[in-house]
Symmetry: C2
Subunit: 352 residues, 2 copies
């Protein structure tokens, strides 16, 4: 799933060049890492060639990045518009079914997340695959490292296979509630990574969101295929009443299971989140690009091209692209979203 | 005098585009303000057409700026290299003498200073002109507004005409000494602005720095003149052992006088100095360019072209040009010089 545009990483992340297309954590971009993660060496299971679902605007740069890393066999599914994750799941299942049959399993994951430990990721995916083989729709639950209020939570129920039944999905909580969740021990962060059989998810969608399923399938059946690019039918896809896979399926199905995951996950949802997972110097600074620091600590300084000098700063975010600069307190980085909103209101589409 | 390049205003001020060529305090650049200040309407005295002394690299942009403001009659004296201010004074005196005779008076002033009250400036210059007519070499003394350690000080002696004899010149003091100076009441900041008769200064230079005078004159006599541009002879000018006008003349001459000045002077010697003299919003922010602030106070944010967003900051300097960004605590802005030094050591001439 490569359709998003993380506005909280402005000014780096833009509609035309969203966060998954940027090298944030290493010399590879997030989408390159995501593709590298699902290599053929999956142990007991074999990863098939990946399919990337994205929009037209991101197609060419994403293709160039995957070509650059020498990866063959990737296919591209182009959404004519954004309709959230449930149609993406339906399209992925339908495409996998068409190619590999009813028993094909789909590992659905965002292209803009960071996962530190690839081996652990694959081992966890295989645990999920065993559960999915028995008809479960699997979500991966990240063990909370703190009372985050920016994620939904999953409460586990009884054990099943290598995971647990899902007892409840919880919306993004207030801080005091999040503290309870963390203390409780049965709660996981909902990372939005899923694993399911193509047939199983279709069954559940038929039961819980049949119209969404029908239109998604129609969009695949009527797609325009050009070599390795599948352009979903615009009329069918646009007619879908968009919904998240969590809301449309996971919260209603009796087949939901959660597999605990501990592979160094981050949604890289903000500059401070990026700081958290970045390599840092002795003063706790994460630095990228042509940057010079003097008496700076606990800060993240990221420059794509410009020379950036920072003198005397603590816990600061400084980001410079070729047309915009952000300076913010690390504790304030959620305000970036507001700033982007303001740009939108001002009609500064060149900066979005 | 337009030869300097204020590195403390990096990244805006560069060798090829020093601070006098930038609009810092209004829509006019500092050199435009300097030219506008000496208009013909000088009251009892009439300002002749100004002469600008600068280097070859700055000639074309400076000419363009003066042309843009519609000012006629300016002539340009090009230094083949920098030799500090004493040769500049000698050249100015020689050029004025050649054009207007021995009695011509020279008002020698830096092109990169800010003067808030032009009327007061002209009135003060006229007081100085009266003293200079009587053979004095006049410097203007700025009444200190605080114990600055970045300026030299002048101690006044007995009254003479509209001013005082100079009792002593003092180097940039330590802070405790500066506090004494301010408390004393007889001390002024040395602003590096001078007024003297062309003949009088030549006499003094003959006495105190004859070789410097001889070579400076030679550089004028052998200059290559092309319309309104006078290119000083390279061989003669390069042979000069450079010195400041203060050291070479003012500290030795018995003719030094100081005229107290109160015209809102600033040398705009740092970003915090610019913040001091800038118009500020209710939160005490001085802002220029495509800038958006959120929860910011006491800061200066200056952008030439890029969009700059600042969220959550206090007493910060943020400067963005097309190729470099500076973020610094306002109290640290002298460290900018160090940063520029570092760039020089790294061989980053593109950024100097």
């Amino acid at each position: 799933m490569s359709g998003g545009s993380g506005t909280r990483l402005w000014p780096l992340s833009r509609q035309s060049s969203p966060k998954q297309l940027h090298a944030l954590t290493s010399d590879l971009t997030l989408i390159q890492h995501t593709i590298a993660r699902v290599n053929a060496d999956g142990g007991a299971f074999v990863f098939a060639d990946p399919m990337v679902i994205l929009n037209e605007r991101q197609l060419a740069p994403a293709q160039a990045q995957i070509k650059e890393m020498g990866r063959q066999g990737v296919s591209w599914i182009v959404e004519p518009c954004g309709r959230n994750t449930a149609p993406v799941a339906a399209v992925a299942a339908e495409a996998a079914r068409a190619r590999y049959g009813e028993d094909a399993m789909v590992l659905l994951m965002p292209a803009d997340h960071h996962i530190d430990d690839e081996e652990a990721f694959r081992a966890t995916a295989i645990r999920g695959a065993h559960l999915a083989q028995s008809g479960r729709i699997v979500t991966f639950g990240i063990k909370p490292t703190g009372p985050a209020t920016g994620f939904g939570y999953i409460r586990r129920g009884d054990a099943v296979g290598d995971g647990y039944l899902v007892d409840a999905f919880k919306e993004k909580p207030k801080r005091d509630i999040a503290l309870e969740y963390v203390a409780d021990g049965r709660y996981y962060w909902n990372a939005g990574i899923f694993l399911f059989g193509a047939g199983a998810v279709a069954d559940e969608m038929m039961a819980h969101c049949p119209e969404l399923l029908r239109l998604s399938r129609q969009a695949v059946v009527d797609a325009v295929v050009e070599q390795d690019v599948i352009r979903l039918d615009q009329r069918a896809f646009e007619a879908i009443d968009g919904d998240s896979f969590d809301y449309a399926v996971m919260e209603h199905t009796g087949r939901a299971a959660v597999v605990p995951a501990d592979f160094g996950w981050s949604d890289v949802g903000s500059w401070s989140a990026l700081w958290e997972i970045s390599d840092k110097d002795d003063a706790g600074n994460a630095v990228r690009g042509d940057v010079h620091l003097e008496d700076v600590s606990g800060s993240i300084v990221y420059s794509t091209a410009l020379r950036v000098g920072v003198i005397g700063a603590e816990d600061l975010i400084v980001v410079a692209t070729e047309d915009a600069v952000l300076v913010a307190r690390k504790s304030d980085d959620q305000a970036v979203k507001k700033l982007v909103e303001r740009l939108r209101n001002e009609g500064r589409l060149d900066l979005l």
